[in-house]
């Protein structure tokens, strides 16, 4: 049997150990090279380290006890405030998963500081009881990226000049401006002309991408009938599908589906998804396109019975210049830019893109976009979530 003094001693020891552990954890938190902020389950800040205070230009007094999205304001590339529902911290709470992404913070020194954030929810019995966010200033990486995009943009602009001359003179040759061609010569010319078209497409895509990446993309939302957009693009691809003996079916709502979005961007997304489906589906396959409303979003679904995406390639499908291993041997032409572009567009208009796929069975791509360009009610929804 323990006597009282032993019990007391043990209690003292364990208190000491707890205090030491706490001090260690605090020292660890404080001395981290990354900014670190801990919040409770409502998103209220209860700890913030020096690095975070330095980056944000805050004092501990100003930050503690405040609601995280209020005190740490995130903005988009276009410098509009990111609604709380779209913040990684909220998404981490909602999904119970760690979320990492690039964003911009409005700090004292910089109205749009590029940062990389990682938010991990702290879970107890599967329920979030708080979250820890770490973040770092990525100004330098950002500058390198920007320079890369600008380089691509300049290079593409420079490539267009000789390409215009190549195009004009090749077409003149083909059309007989320099005399009639033999059949074989015409065949060769056709290959040259086709390659010029591909080169044109590639340059256009590179220019579009660098424009989005450097924040020069102009988004012009207007009220448009999504059905009409799908119909017009499908028509453009009809012949290609017929040539490849692919059955193309379209299932659209019977009424016009009006949404507020930039029609050019919607067209770009759908053309990319549909042309990929046709390109990566072998002859006699089927492609189905469907459009449906789901809550406040419209979801575009493009399914095919094509080659599918191998499991090991799936996590990279939206990376720049990435092409899945299985299609590289089947389809030689592809830039690995289409889906990257779709993802960029989705990000810039508040949409989402995702897919399901099985190799040798087919793929289904989904693209969801809000019916209205911005919806303030969404941010109140998350306010409600955080208050409960």
């Amino acid at each position: 049997m323990l006597d009282l003094s032993e019990l007391l001693k043990e209690l003292q020891d364990s208190t000491l150990r707890a205090v030491q552990e706490k001090a260690k954890t605090e020292a660890l938190f404080a001395s981290m090279g990354e900014g670190a902020i801990a919040t409770d389950e409502h998103g209220v800040i209860y700890r913030i380290n020096k690095t975070a205070l330095n980056i944000l230009g805050l004092t501990e007094k100003r930050a503690l006890g405040k609601w995280f999205p209020d005190i740490v304001v995130a903005v988009t590339q276009a410098n509009t405030v990111v609604p709380p529902i779209d913040r990684p911290i909220t998404r981490a709470f909602l999904s119970g998963r760690t979320i990492s992404e690039r964003t911009y913070y409005r700090t004292r020194k910089d109205p749009r500081l590029p940062v990389f954030v990682t938010v991990s929810p702290i879970l107890q019995n599967g329920k979030p009881i708080g979250a820890v966010e770490t973040f770092r200033d990525i100004t330098q990486e950002h500058q390198v990226d920007r320079m890369k995009s600008e380089f691509i943009s300049i290079a593409s602009h420079q490539l267009r000049t000789p390409l215009s001359a190549i195009n004009t003179y090749s077409r003149m040759l083909y059309d007989g401006y320099a005399g009639d061609l033999l059949e074989k010569q015409k065949d060769f010319m056709q290959i040259i002309l086709l390659s010029i078209d591909r080169m044109n497409d590639l340059i256009t895509t590179l220019l579009d991408i660098s424009r989005i990446e450097t924040g020069q993309l102009q988004i012009n939302p207007s009220s448009v009938d999504y059905n009409a957009i799908i119909n017009s693009i499908t028509k453009e691809f009809d012949q290609v599908a017929v040539d490849k003996k692919i059955k193309l079916s379209v299932d659209l709502p019977s009424e016009p589906l009006m949404i507020t979005a930039d029609p050019l961007l919607l067209k770009e997304v759908f053309s990319n998804l549909l042309s990929n489906a046709i390109k990566y589906t072998p002859p006699k396959g089927t492609i189905s396109v469907a459009l449906s409303k789901k809550g406040k979003n419209v979801i575009l679904k493009v399914s095919d019975t094509g080659y599918g995406i191998p499991k090991e390639s799936q996590s990279n499908m939206f990376s720049k210049f990435f092409r899945a291993g299985n299609v590289m041997q089947k389809e030689t032409f592809g830039t690995g830019l289409g889906l990257y572009m779709v993802k960029l567009i989705a990000n810039s208009i508040g949409g989402k893109v995702w897919f399901e796929s099985r190799e040798n069975t087919g793929s289904t791509f989904y693209f969801s976009v809000p019916i209205t360009a911005s919806d303030d009610k969404l941010s109140t929804k998350i306010d409600e979530f955080l208050q409960t």
Binding site: S156, L163, S164, T168, Y169, D175, I203
Partner: protein, 129 residues
């Protein structure tokens, strides 16, 4: 047949367009920048102007502004020769009264002459009130 002024700084391209249009029986004058373009426009009074946008000395937009300040666009059609990625400039040119545009990297000889023939056949004075 019409009198056409090509304003394009890339000599390879202006040579090609000249060849195509002359083959279709048009009379063609060439200038390699906007400034020379203005001089030749005053001298030759072309019915159709093919106008490049990016040029040294005076670019296409500056040419349009200067041309409009001295001439009426009645009976004259200005066709913009644009490059991939020039959409904003094309938009501005159209606002300034350009009639149509051709993307140089896609242009087909027959298309070029078709556009010109179409413009010649059209009573421009009547369509441009």
């Amino acid at each position: 047949m019409a009198k056409i002024l090509i304003i394009e700084d890339d000599k390879l391209l202006s040579d090609a367009y000249k060849l195509i249009l002359e083959k279709h029986g048009h009379k063609v004058v060439v200038a390699h920048n906007g400034k020379k373009g203005l001089e030749k426009a005053a001298l030759h009074k072309p019915k159709i102007i093919l106008l490049d946008l990016l040029m040294p000395e005076m670019d296409g937009i500056e040419f349009l502004e200067a041309y409009r300040s001295k001439n009426s666009l009645k009976g004259v059609a200005i066709v913009v020769l644009s490059n991939l990625g020039d959409e904003k400039k094309v938009e501005k040119a159209i606002k300034l009264g350009a009639y149509k545009y051709i993307v140089k990297a896609h242009a087909k000889p027959d298309e070029l002459s078709l556009i010109v023939n179409h413009l010649v056949g059209k009573d421009l004075a009547r369509t441009r009130k």
